[in-house]
Amino acid sequence: MTLLDAVLFLPLIGFAALLLIPKQSSRGAALILSLLVFIVSLGLIGPYWFANPSGYVFTTDAVWINSPPIRYHVGLDGLSLWLVLLTTLLTPISVAVSWKYIDHRVKEFYAFLMLLEFGLIGVFVALDLFLFYVFWEICLVPMYFLIGIWGHERRIYAAVKFFLYTMAGSVLMLAAIIYLYNRAGTFDYVAILSQIETGRLAFPPRVEMLLFLAFFVSFAIKVPLFPLHTWLPDAHVEAPTAGSVMLASVMLKMGTYGLLRYCVPLFPDAARSSAPWVAALAITGIIYGALVALVQPNMKKLVAYSSVSHLGFVVLGIFSFTQQGLDGAVYQMLNHGISTGALFILVGYLYERRHSLEIAAYGGVATPAPNLSAVFLITTLASIGLPSLNNFVGEYLVLQGAAAAHFTWTAFAALGVILSACYMLWLYQRAFFGKASEGVAHHVYDLTGREWAAIVPLIALMVWMGTFTQSFLPPIRAQNARILESARRLKTERVQNLVPEAIRAR
């Protein structure tokens, strides 16, 4: 039993506890439990504080099911470390922002939130393909209920669409996982990876491409990559604030995490040969998402489409196959989690006051609520990539990595950066500047203490991650170097193997 097991199972215990305790105390209990998980999870940084361990730390490897051999194998590395912390940080924040917002079936809400945290952490730490799939699917259920029960008018449509999209993608992944098992004789990620790296397990190019696609489509739906993104605006707009925050900040990262953890190292040749196509889709997503965001009259939809655009950068970074590109992608995953999470929280604050998500219903918010406006401005600037705030670092690294791969990619992707300034600043101008209408002046008040508490950690992280990148990057960099190494090694081996064949063919 390691610290990681504790971080993983505490939320599950919390889920059970919340179901059992009386309704009145569930909010407080959820806050205490989620804060406890966060504090315990801070201990995970320990091994990375002074050294930079290679490989996995806090591993547990125990038999779960005998035949076929399925193991409870979990571990932490530089890639999953920050994603786990992002999850454990955003869960208490989600509890805090739901304090007043959720007024019916309170107990179930927090229970599902804890179950979601369990699933999300599990996805990031699982080192067994079967276990990974189990956690991947578990995440679906609580999010489905969060959207469907506590969402807005079209919540049922959005929840069902969300479930079916993800389900359709993941069944193909299940087929690929079973196929991998039948060939490799194990579900263990580390073992399969080492078999592939040493060439003991090799696939014909066509099979490798099919396996890659089975994983890729499932992850691309989750990311979401253009043109598989259509579930996202619906889910985001209809979800309650906490649902949107967890969805945008953490759940979308399941997709990009999967690309980086599974698609690239396990099927390097297929990943490399499909890189131009994927990059084209990513760039399309960047520009398309930004353009659609520009014309949205609904604030939540605007932020949702901006996510499509931002996540395009992450995918572009991953498929540039350069150190900077991968580093930027991972950094951008965290940045997007923090700044878009903050945006959804702030939009939620506005909604709690004015009960509208239409931009047209606002205007002049800065007058009655100066603090809220200031915080929104910082978040806006972070989101459009102002230097010294977090998104700048990630976007810069992605663009640099992409430029090293193909300069034209960068040229197009950079358009997205410019467009993001357009839609975000225009949103800010329309909602916050000008003369406050009667409705705004009457209903909109400034931040309360609870609201401050929920948003300040995120603002602090935006500045911290924008200025002291060295606190965060080294573990990421080391892990990405390993991923590139395993993706590269195979290629050289393949080339060596191919030479005699080519000569023979002549």
């Binding site: 099911i65 005998n66 035949s67 076929p68 079936r105 079967f130 799939y133 189990v134 956690f135 699917e137 578990i138 679906l140 259920v141 489905y144 209920f145 469907g148 029960i149 919540r155 049922i156 929840a159 069902v160 479930f163 079916l164 389900m167 359709a168 069944v171 193909l172 299940l174 087929a175 079973i178 196929y179 098992y181 039948n182």
Partner: protein, 485 residues
């Protein structure tokens, strides 16, 4: 050999469960006639005791495995697995129906006797090693089931269900019997091992004729497992029959029918596996597609579950099409997981339907999550298991089936099956939507709390569903050892 004219004691031991079930069934019929009305409350516990004794009997019988009565009965791991399964389903049925029968003012003993006889028939099917015995078991089980389907004789829905089930069922059984006759003519035997020997080797009869016989028998089996294109009866019967009977019919007889299908095809027709595989392949696909796409349209939950159970028969047929030991083990595991899941779902439907089964529309489940959160949570577990979400038995079952199919290189069938299960998620989700996300505008009539028997059936099924999902090894390891080569 004159000595074998009198069966040895061990041979009686091997049919102990059937003996126990029959004795208890007859005893209940006798008591029904002589006991006063007030004393008739003992029937449910008596039936449960009988099933419990049969359960113990089947485990005792497994203690001395082997053939009995000139090889007509074969007690092995496979037989014991299915015996235990059908007996446990019978127990669940007794628990779920005692309250129902009182509610509908039909608390007769003959209901329990019929359940016991039907289980006895299924138990015979599970251990049959001979085509005639298979037929006898099938008939014992079916005739009891026909009556059960029409048990509430004043209800026209019941009579319609029973009549349809009986007419189509007899028709299908005739096909089976005709196939058996052909096989006897071709191979000179009805013993599965003997047929296998006759079909392999040099003197095998022409494949055309064997194939025709196998196809005729498949009609009979296909009817019982509700495989397309022989599934037409299932929705009407499950919708019309009393809800606990539908629960029973959708799992017990189906599991037993799969047992004889697997045993016949893997043992007797094993040598020509390559020839029947494509047939089962096509049948599996058609069954999944018909079941799932028809279920999407339904507004009556019993009918929806009926189509869903057709679709699930399709998944099990994938495992049969794999024609391997892993496939048989996967089918066994799936049938166990599916039995608890589907029975539990039907049990909750029984509970929510109220007196006279007036509330069986999906919309009638609106607001159940607020009225009886525990029942809604249990139905959620069952539906998630039917969808195939991890940590439920349904997921592990699907996983093993698709793994077995990929092992046998049925890549396309696997992909199509998986996509089918994604389609299926849609109609199960609809029930969840209604229960949790629609406001409580369900029927105004109050929903009484569930009684002890119903709680036992529902919670027990839910516990088993989760147990099979979290620790599938418990059952799978036995199934893998017991599965036919």
């Amino acid at each position: 050999m004159p000595a074998s004219y009198f069966p040895a004691p061990a041979e009686y031991l091997r049919v102990l469960p059937e003996i126990v079930l029959t004795l208890f069934g007859v005893a209940i019929l006798f008591f029904e006639a002589v006991l006063s009305e007030a004393r008739k409350r003992i029937f449910p516990p008596l039936a449960a005791a009988g099933l419990g004794a049969a359960l113990a009997g089947s485990i005792l019988a497994y203690g001395s495995p082997g053939a009995a009565f000139h090889g007509m009965i074969l007690v092995d791991g496979f037989a014991t697995f299915f015996r235990v399964l059908v007996i446990v389903v019978g127990l669940l049925a007794v628990f779920a129906s005692s309250e129902y029968l009182r509610r509908e003012n039909h608390p007769g003993g003959e209901f329990y006797a019929l359940i016991l006889f039907s289980v006895a028939g299924q138990s015979v099917m599970a251990s049959a090693n001979e085509l005639i015995v298979i037929f006898i078991g099938l008939e014992i089980s079916s005739i009891a089931s026909y009556i059960l389907a029409g048990y509430l004789r004043d209800d026209p829905r019941n009579s319609e269900a029973a009549l349809k089930y009986f007419l189509l069922g007899s028709f299908a059984t005739a096909f089976l019997l005709y196939g058996v006759a052909w096989i006897y003519g071709l191979t000179g035997s009805t013993n599965l091992e003997a047929i296998r020997r006759a079909l392999s080797g040099g003197g095998a009869p022409p494949l055309m004729l064997t194939g025709a016989a196998a196809a005729l028998m498949f009609v009979g089996f296909g009817f019982k497992i509700s495989a397309a294109p022989f599934q037409i009866w299932a929705p009407d019967v499950y919708q019309g029959a009393p809800a606990p009977v539908s629960a029973f019919l959708s799992v017990g007889p189906k599991a037993a029918a799969f047992a004889i299908l697997i045993r016949t095809y893997q043992t007797a027709f094993g040598p020509v596996a390559g020839d029947w595989q494509p047939l089962v392949w096509a049948c599996a696909l058609a069954t999944m597609v018909v079941g799932n796409f028809a279920a999407i349209q339904q507004s009556n939950i019993k009918r929806m579950l009926a189509y869903s159970s057709i679709a699930h028969a399709g998944y099990v047929l994938i495992a049969v099409a794999a024609a391997s030991q892993i496939g048989a083990a996967a089918a066994m595991f799936y049938l166990a997981a599916y039995a608890f899941t589907n029975f539990g779902a039907f049990a909750v439907v029984t509970h929510v339907a109220r007196k006279g089964e007036r509330y069986v529309k999906i919309d009638d489940f609106a607001g159940l999550a607020q009225r009886q959160p525990a029942m809604a949570a249990m139905l959620t577990i069952f539906l998630l298991s039917l969808i195939g979400v991890p940590l439920t038995g349904g997921f592990c079952g699907k996983f093993y089936i698709f793994k077995a199919a990929l092992d046998s290189n049925l890549v396309w069938l696997t992909v199509l099956g998986l996509l089918n299960s994604a389609v299926a998620a849609y109609y199960y989700l609809r029930v969840l939507v209604v229960m949790y996300m629609k406001d409580a505008d369900g029927p105004a009539e109050p929903l009484p709390a569930a009684g002890t028997g119903m709680k036992l059936a529902v919670y027990g099924s839910a516990a088993a569903t989760l147990l099979l999902g979290i620790f599938p090894g418990l059952v799978l390891e036995f199934a893998s050892r017991a599965a036919l080569k």
